[in-house]
Amino acid sequence: MPPLLGKSRGLLLPLLLIGGWEYLSRQDAAGAYAFVPLSTIGQALLELLGNGELLVNLLASLARTSTGLALGIVFGVALGVLMALSSVANRLIGPLFHSIRQVPMLGWIPLIAMWFGNGEFSKVLIVTLAAFYPMVLNTYQGFRHVEGRYREVGQVLVLSRWQQFCHVLLPAALPSLATGVLHALAFAWVTAVGSELFLSSGAGLGNLMMNAEAGARMEIIVLSVLCIGLCGYLMTLLFTLLSRHLLRWRNIR
């Protein structure tokens, strides 16, 4: 199969959806309300690009996501490593962690709002938590499942604990960590927008949507949804490429 055709196969379904959307929007007035015509969405895009609203809100959401993601990854890896390498820590923290993990992210929002208000701190905290869970779980799995035969090589070469960590355990756990980051990324993005819907202060794609709803601007809501989907997809794609490079030593045959 020619490479171009192979790559563009993923576009087939979205194009069909757009076609169906446009068809429905042309049926009657109700259809045109629910399924905003593409031309109206295009106009809204130009309008929002023109007055900078789209960019401001998009950047606000992205900044929130990356801050929360970075914090979630750092704390998540730290706790995951601690639980994997210290059985005392695992027994001490494990039960608490696994019970707290059961509370859905949306369930935290009222509590966090009451504690910390509805400002930037609360939103970043929610995103951090969302990224934190998958990071802890995958880090723990990765470090727990380092093969004994590799640990033995470290022992035979008389590596110190720190050397064993850097040269054996960490690289062996890296594929699992990459999976963790991939999950954390998806959760972070989704909860960033979610937190903006619930804590409606400041800028963000979620806020853009809420304002559009208040002003009955369906085309802006649709545009925001598209934007959220596209950005999430691009971020995942970017990270997949990065991890493929970092894990190029793996035998993918």
Binding site: Y150, E152, V156, Q163, H167, V168, W249, R253
Partner: protein, 264 residues
């Protein structure tokens, strides 16, 4: 020989040789609370620079013996002495090559070999020179930057041998090092092993399933019996190295060994 070896000779000519002595060594595992003896009263004296082959049925504890000597297992009765001193834990004085090469898949070949020098007080230039030298020793020039999955089984095993040799161990332990290779690669690597050993002359203990391999390489072949593992018989192979694989003397030893192993 020992005295010479301990002095600073150019690295690749001679390795420091170690005299290994195993006295009254017994080891048992606990399976569901019941002790299961794996080694029973093993006595073995290995001269510095001697090549010992150990053959025996599976379950005779030959691998356990190597793991005890290298220090990956403890909790045994008896003594394991290297140059008169009891062995404690793992040490760079004792190197091992496993049946699976155990190169780290996330490191290139040269990084894998260089990792063995991590705790050496040498300069980086010296380390680089040693790594290059050992890659040349096992004929892997040109593959320095290859990842293990890009190497064939034989090449990976040669890299593992280089990694074990680079620390100039007094004793080199080979745990069925060629066991996972195809017949042709195996013969070729036996030849390589002999060449390397003739060049380096360190003490070697090799565990193998292959009688011909044991006789071709060993100065002495130890036959072990299973349940519990113990030394049953020893054969002194009086033939200078390098040896000819098809020598009639080796044939004679082979029949003697087969008789011993199959047992009548």
């Amino acid at each position: 020989m020992n005295a010479i070896a301990h002095h600073a000779l150019p690295h690749s000519t001679t390795l420091p040789c170690g005299a290994l002595e195993v006295r009254g060594l017994s080891k048992a595992y606990r399976i569901e609370g019941q002790p299961l003896p794996v080694l029973d009263n093993i006595n073995l004296k290995v001269r510095p620079g001697e090549f010992i082959s150990i053959v025996g049925a599976s379950g005779c504890g030959k691998s356990t013996l190597l793991r005890l000597i290298v220090g990956l297992e403890g909790d045994y009765q008896g003594d394991i002495l290297l140059d008169g001193k009891p062995v404690v834990g793992t040490s760079l004085e004792r190197g091992i090559v496993f049946q699976d090469h155990r190169l780290f898949p996330w490191m290139t070949l040269s990084k894998n070999i260089a990792l063995a020098l991590k705790n050496h007080p040498l300069s980086q230039v010296e380390k680089d020179r040693l790594v290059a030298e050992h890659i040349a020793l096992v004929n892997l020039e040109g593959f320095e930057n290859a990842y293990p999955h890009q190497l064939s089984g034989g090449m990976a095993q040669r890299a593992a041998i280089a990694r074990a040799l680079i620390n100039r161990p007094k004793v080199l332990l080979l745990d069925e090092p060629l066991g996972a290779l195809d017949a042709l690669t195996r013969v070729r690597l036996q030849h390589e092993l002999q060449r390397i050993w003739v060049q380096q002359r360190c003490t070697v203990i090799m565990v193998t399933h292959d009688i011909e391999e044991a006789l071709y390489l060993g100065d002495r072949v130890i036959v072990m019996d299973a349940h519990p593992g113990r030394i049953k018989h020893q054969i002194q192979v009086n033939l200078p190295h390098p040896r000819d694989r098809s020598s009639p003397v080796l044939q004679g030893y082979k029949e003697q060994l087969l008789e011993e192993l199959v047992g009548h």
